[in-house]
Every structure is written in C-alpha cells, then in structure tokens.
C-alpha cells in the first residue's frame, strides 16, 4: 500500500497512508503517514464508533493537507479498547490464509 501511494503521488495526486504498521510505511518511503495502533482490518477504528473513526479521518486529513515534507509521520494517540490478546485473535481469519497454510505445512514437513 505505501508503494501504491508513491505511484499515485508521483502521478501528481497527494496521498496519505493510514496504517497499523507506520514503521513499515516509513521504510517503504510513503510520502505521508498516519500510524494507528489498531488491529488489522480496522484502519479507522472500532465498528460503529463514529467518534473514533472521525478522529482518525480528521488526523489523516490534517496530515494530507498540512505535512510539509516527504515521509511525514504522525501517530494517532488512541488506544484500542479490547485487550491485546483478544484483539490479536479477533482480527485473524477463522481459516488460515493459503500462504500461511503453505508455510505451516512446509515447517511441519521440515520438523519431521
């Protein structure tokens, strides 16, 4: 996604990336970054929490319109209200993705 942002930016349209992995977006040299400490799939916050979603979107707009320099990163100071272990489990698919399944199979073959 940071690379897609770069391509859009290079074509002349300003971008901001709202991401749970801002350190990775920095490494990938996204032009503007908003970091959120939210589980995957929840870039703008908790379902039905309009205030939280709006706060995230407003920060994204501020960074999009107000950042002065390439690779500006500002993180949202909002804590996820669900305990980490629970949230960690909740975002993951109920069935492992094909690539994870493949990696697990490779590992189990390697260990036998």
């Amino acid at each position: 996604m940071p690379v897609l942002a770069r391509w859009i930016e290079a074509a002349g349209i300003p971008t901001v990336v709202v991401t749970m992995m801002p350190a990775v977006a920095e490494e990938r040299r996204a032009p503007r970054i908003v970091g959120v400490e939210f589980p995957f799939g929840h870039a703008f916050g908790m379902p039905h929490d309009r205030a939280m979603q709006r706060r995230t979107l407003e920060l994204a707009l501020r960074v999009l319109a107000g950042a002065e320099t390439f690779r500006t990163r500002i993180d949202l100071d909002v804590e996820w209200r669900v305990p980490v272990r629970e949230a960690y489990r909740a975002w993951q698919p109920k069935v492992p993705s094909p690539i994870v399944r493949k990696l697990l199979e490779t590992r189990s073959r390697g260990s036998t």
Binding site: W7, I13, M21, P31, G35, G41, D75, Q92, P93
Partner: protein
C-alpha cells in the same frame, strides 16, 4: 506517542516486514504539494480490505489464490460513495471480515467523509472511491503495470485533489 507497528502481528510474520527497506526502485522521495484548502478540495478513499459491491461487481478471485498461495488478485473496484453497508461484500483471506461487514466505515469511511463535507471541513468527496485486495505477489508487477495506472486515471477523472489510503 509512537505506535507499536507490530503490536497485532504474529511474531513469526515480523521479519517479513521489518527492516526490509524501500521497495526496489522506490528509494527516491516522491512529493506532490497539497495546494488547495481542504474546504475547497475533493477527497478520495482507497481501501485494501477487498471491498466490492455485492450486486454489481465480481468478487476478488480467491479461488485462484487458494490454488496459488503466492498470488493475490491485482484488480480494483470503483465503490460508489452512495453504497450502503448492506451493499458491500468483502473478499480477503488474510483478515476476519466480521467487523468489516458489520461496519465498512472502519476501512472505507465514506459516511464520515460525507459528514465532513456537509460541515464544510472538506470541499467534497469523489463520487466513486477505490478498493483493492491488499494481499499481492511480492513483486507487485500487475499493480505496477496495470492497476496503479488505472486507479490514477480514475482519480483524475473524479477530480480528486488528494487520496487517503488505508491498508487492511
């Protein structure tokens, strides 16, 4: 406060992301100044949560990904800003879709953006936002060769002054 970028990531995945540096050929700065006032700007949203419109669009191709785990559908969907949560479906094998289906705003906050437009904070929203499925082959060949160009053309056509991208 700095976000912990790996808080919700399984520990074994961390080396796949951390310390890998720039994408090959994407080291140089890219920058387009945001020239207008927000209140005079039209904004677009772009989500990689695998969102599509159930009634009128094909799903992202998950069958092929099941057969070829390194591959991810590189196509994109144009999501009308008028789409209701009930119109939206999710095709993404790497995240749980329960919260996204319950409230797509967590990935594509079209209602929240409309609200800010009504209040005059932003000038407006594009008529059609953008959705992709974020799991892609590592070299991003199709995104680079085809999809990115199509999305840029779409955004220009929609007169977008800026884009807010959110990975799933």
């Amino acid at each position: 406060m700095l976000v912990d970028s790996y808080k919700f990531l399984p520990r074994s995945f961390r080396p796949l992301y951390e310390g890998r540096g720039a994408f090959p050929g994407e080291e140089a700065p890219v920058w387009t100044p945001f020239a207008k006032r927000l209140s005079e700007s039209r904004l677009a949203l772009l989500s990689s949560a695998g969102i599509y419109v159930k009634a009128s669009q094909p799903t992202f191709d998950l069958d092929r990904e099941q057969e070829h785990p390194e591959w991810g559908d590189p196509t994109w969907r144009s999501i009308p800003a008028t789409a209701r949560p009930a119109d939206i479906a999710i095709a993404h094998l790497h995240i749980d879709d329960e919260d996204l289906l319950a409230d797509p705003e967590i990935a594509l906050p079209m209602r929240a953006l409309d609200e800010l437009a009504r209040e005059g904070v932003v000038g407006g929203a594009v008529a059609n936002h953008v959705a992709v499925m974020g799991y892609q082959d590592r070299r991003l060949e199709d995104w680079h060769g085809t999809t990115a160009g199509e999305i840029v053309a779409h955004l220009r056509n929609e007169d977008a002054d800026g884009v807010i991208l959110a990975p799933a």
